[in-house]
Amino acid sequence: MEYLRPQNLKNALHLMKQWKKKATLIAGGTNVIPDLRARAVRPEVLIDISHLKSLAYIKEDKRKIHIGALTTVSELASSKIIEKWAPLLSHAANQLGNPLVRNRATIAGNLADGSPAADTAVPLLALEAIVVIQGGKEKQVPIHQFFVGPNQTVLKRDEMIKEVIIPKFNPNAKTAYFKLGLRNSMAVSVVSIAVLMEMEKTFCKKARIGYGAVAPKPIRAYRVEEMLENKELTERLLRACCETIGKEISPISDIRASKEYRTEMASVLLKRVMKRVTQ
């Protein structure tokens, strides 16, 4: 196996183009290294981008937050900008894996790995983030189009995530995030949910709901969003939403939980976040 350490993004892209399927890109390595150890990936070349510090940043401009691909989950968890403009992401980052892992894990790695339970993806879905992909030329992909299936994304072999853009939301919007796992640290999500709601008293003007671990990929709950938007939030409506969500998701059974439990919890967590945002 060879090891390459490109000096900048351009260089990295060039190498990716050159090696294509034979190469594996490595950032924090928290997914890639266990995969190498288990021989689940057997690349001929490792392209290491972990030292490209120019890709580790959290910046804000008037309307958007820009998060560099190599920003670590710890940096997300402790950033004041994120806390203010993407509190959902702040919560999710604080609960991802464990503190040691968070110091290595990067946002782009979490997204590119494409796990159905990817914890940063869920708030980013609710926040309608945009993934900036650099290949031959730069593309901006809304995050809800980024994931394709279990561990599959739209990324091509010669493309990289360069940054993630989060539009600043209406400061009056309400947000909430819940992660349900089997323990309080080092827990893979059994179900996770993130919501962003723009409300006028009890009237819902906008609803964005992201879910993790209930489908082959992190998803938006479009049908429920639609049920909520431009409606008066009544008990009855909320109950109907909690029923609909069961039909909108397609969880699997694994050692952590059965699909039935996941389905029920998707509804329980929906109820909880709704309660949180309507309070």
């Binding site: 464990n98 349900l180 089997l182 323990r183 309080n184 640290s185 080092m186 827990a187 893979v188 059994v190 050692i255 939980a257 059965s258 439990y261 029920e264 919890m265 329980v268 109820k271 909880r272």
Partner: protein, 767 residues
């Protein structure tokens, strides 16, 4: 002896300093020049015939020094006594097979061994060994395995390894006298010990040709079994035990030793073998899962009248310590209660699952979950407070267990129960979907080995010319402060600061045999042996000093490296002067003591009667939990442990054992389970096998009772294993208190809670 100076104090352990500085050389930290790396090829079928094993490609790989299969093992099959010296018979010895021969019996069974110049090459060599398997039908459920037409796990023997019974009175009569009877079936899962240090060791041949194995083990006395594997005289194999990175019973059986011995024997080179975490989970013993059918009867006023239980434990594919564990369960099955009529039937059964053996508590926690859940149901049914019904029925000193063993020493359960209730304090107020509940459970766990094993321990204490003291004891230190406690005892007796003591442990060639570090026996056995040895040395010193000072020996004491007159005359001598004087007189400045546990013999195994254990430790756990009614998630808010420890030799160590044990039990209650699906491990690593993290645990509160009535040194009792025993029922009882449903099988996963709540709602809906 006057007031104790060192015993009972929270003294930092000498080994803790070395560990804090990273100086301790654990098994995997040791290297030798020219060493090879060992690896084990394991079966990927739970039940299959081995049609062929082709090692030629692996052998040809550059850097490979040995590839061994069953045919290369001088004695591949032996009957093992598991490190014990006394032959008991009665199915108590089990088959030990080093490498699978014609068949594999569980997934992960060792099939071949490799030694190579690097770990990478060794791994690669494993991939080159071709094993042709023919899958055979397997049996994965002990109840199924008991049926006459079940496939046989081991050729030529019944799947039922043992059947034991305990009979007292007439249960039918007992139940007819009962006003309330509760009957339930409980299930507990496979559990991993999950010590943080995976199995590891290193072997070499010393300049005299002795096979020397430095290994992380709880039992150095496996050297005999290892010598048998190689067909060598016992004195040609030496085992050196390292400080162990956690054992909990999982390093009680042979792990890497025989593999290492074979590889070093065949290659003549030092060999190191360390399991990966996955390999550890796949291949080492597990805690026994049990199916337990319990029927308990009581009078309206709460007095117990009868208990009947049927226990079936899953032994996995090899016998190992299953009969022993079952025997513990049998003796414990009725709990620490006065019950006129008892009948317990127990079976341990072979299946094609991972084999099961010792795990902290050794059969006691399993039955405690059942009998203490039963007690709680009886409390509900009789309308008594859970503590009331227990208090009324606790055995007291002088009374007998259902087996007839008389409890000759203090039974502190009333005190421990009261303390726990008191410490639970105000109930936390519920919020949102969180329901609060609290529960208690009491238990008993033996310390010291079964008396028919004729257990012994030896210790050698000597004093050097400068007054420093050396202890030599073949104990294994598995993190519980075993070595350090012996230093404390010796320091107390010889009146020297603990820094003056050096202890050598765990070397079959150099330290006197002290037996296994299992069964919560080391403090009891080696503590007593060391106490005896130190007292002998003290006697010699005091007598000499008495002569030198012209004072009655009775009035002399050893304090702070001096011999002093207790009467306060100011007369005295520095200890080292006395030592020198002894030396010139040719007096022995050492003593080797042999401590024997009570020896009994078993009349017969089928029906268990009379004394089985030297003594028991009694205690109570209390838990307060918050249960999320919607998600089923349980958070333990309070966990209180109260134990009669006899006497706390080292308060820090005792609290450490009790706190750690409580959380070990909490993991058993809530998240830990090795899931096997048709013999295949579904929880191969620590991301699936879930230990409690620092964010899951409450601060365990420890309340010590010191009755001084234990059989250990200074009246101490053992706590290492008892500290786990009653945690699961305390938590489960608390869950019942919170949400009104009882879960009969561990662990109490969120999903089980949610399901149970749903059926309760359904049932109530129909009323």
């Amino acid at each position: 002896m006057s007031e104790l100076k060192i015993i009972g104090k929270p003294i930092p352990r000498h080994d803790a300093w070395e560990k804090a500085f990273g100086l301790t050389c654990y098994a995997a930290d040791f290297t030798l020049p020219g060493m090879l790396y060992g690896k084990v090829l394991r079966s990927n079928h739970p039940s299959a015939r081995i049609l062929s094993v082709n090692t030629s490609r692996a052998e040809r790989l550059k850097g490979v020094k040995a590839v061994l299969t069953a045919k290369d093992v001088p004695r591949n099959e032996s009957v093992t006594r598991f490190g014990q010296t006394h032959a008991v018979g009665g199915g108590f010895e089990g088959l030990y097979r080093v490498l699978a021969d014609r068949k594999v019996h569980f997934m992960g069974e060792a099939v071949a061994l490799v030694a190579a110049e690097t770990e990478e090459i060794a791994k690669r060599a494993l991939e080159l060994i071709q094993v042709e398997y023919e899958p055979l039908p397997g049996v994965f459920d002990p109840i199924e395995a008991m049926k006459p037409d079940a496939p046989l796990v081991q050729e030529g023997r019944s799947n039922i390894i043992t059947h034991y019974e305990v009979v007292k009175g007439d249960v039918e009569k007992g139940f007819s006298e009962a006003d309330v009877v509760v009957e339930n079936t409980y299930r507990v899962p496979f559990v991993d010990h999950a010590y943080l240090e995976p199995e590891s060791g290193m072997a070499w041949i010393d300049e005299d040709g002795v096979i020397t194995i430095r290994v992380s083990t709880q039992v150095i006395e496996h050297f005999r079994g290892i010598a048998d594997v190689l067909n060598l005289p016992h004195n040609r194999v030496r085992v050196i035990g390292t400080y162990v990175g956690g054992g909990f019973g999982g390093k009680e059986d042979i792990t890497v030793e025989a593999f290492l011995a074979l590889l070093t024997y065949k290659t003549g080179r030092p060999v190191k073998l360390t399991y990966t975490r996955e390999e550890s989970i796949l291949s080492h013993s597990k805690r026994h899962p049990y199916v337990m059918i319990y029927k308990t009867g009581a009078k309206k006023d709460g007095r117990l009248t009868a208990l009947q239980a049927k226990l079936v434990s899953d032994a996995g594919a090899y016998v190992y310590l299953s009969p022993w564990v079952l025997l513990y369960s049998m003796v414990n099955a009725a709990g620490p209660y006065r019950i006129p009529h008892v009948k317990v039937d127990g079976y341990t059964v072979l299946t094609n699952n991972t084999f099961t053996s010792a795990n902290r508590g050794f059969g006691a926690p399993q039955v405690c979950f059942a009998y203490e859940s039963q007690m709680d149901e009886l409390a509900r049914r009789t309308g008594l407070e859970p503590e009331k019904i227990r208090m009324m029925n606790y055995l007291e000193k002088g009374e007998a267990l259902a087996t007839g063993q008389v409890l000759e020493r203090h039974v502190a359960l009333k005190e421990t129960t009261e303390k726990v209730i008191e410490a639970l304090e105000e109930r936390t107020s519920p919020s949102g979907q969180m329901r609060i509940g609290r529960g208690i459970a009491s238990g008993m766990t033996s310390y010291g080995r079964m008396v028919f094993l004729h257990d012994t321990s030896r210790s050698h204490v000597s004093i050097e010319m400068d007054g420093s003291v050396t202890i030599r004891a073949g104990i294994q230190d598995i993190g519980g402060g075993q070595a350090s406690s012996l230093c404390q005892i010796t320091a107390e007796i010889l009146g020297v600061p603990i820094e003056d003591i050096k202890i050598y442990i765990a070397d079959t060639a150099l330290t006197p045999f002290a037996g296994t570090t299992t069964a919560t026996r080391q403090l009891y056995m080696s503590g007593n042996a060391t106490l005896m040895a130190a007292r002998e040395v003290r006697k010699i010193l005091v007598h000499k000093a008495a002569g030198m000072l012209g004072i009655d020996p009775e009035s002399l004491d050893l304090v702070d490296r001096e011999v002093i007159d207790k009467e306060g005359t100011g007369k005295g001598l520095p200890l080292k002067e006395v030592v020198r004087a002894c030396a010139s007189d040719g007096l022995p400045l050492y003593h080797v003591a042999l401590f024997k546990a009570p020896f009994r013999n078993v009349a017969q195994f089928e029906r268990i009667e009379g004394q089985v254990f030297p003594d028991f430790t009694f205690g109570t756990h209390g838990a307060e939990v918050a249960v999320d009614e919607e998600t089923g998630r349980i958070q333990v808010l309070k966990l209180i442990s109260s134990f009669d420890v006899g006497r706390a030799i080292n308060r820090l160590s005792v609290e450490g054992q009790i706190e750690g044990g409580a959380i070990y039990g909490m993991g058993y209650s809530l998240t830990e389970e090795v899931i096997l699906n048709q013999g295949i491990t579904m929880t191969p690593s620590f991301s699936e096998y879930l230990l409690p993290t620092s964010m899951d645990v409450p601060d365990v509160e420890t309340i010590l009772i010191e009755s001084g009535d234990g059989v250990g040194p200074f009246g101490a009792k053992g706590v290492g294993e008892p500290s786990v025993c009653s945690v699961a029922p305390a938590i489960s009882n608390a869950v019942y208190d919170a949400i009104g449903v009882r879960i009969y099988d561990l662990p109490l996963t969120p999903e089980k809670i949610v399901r149970a709540l749903q059926s309760k709602v359904k049932a109530e809906g129909y009323l």
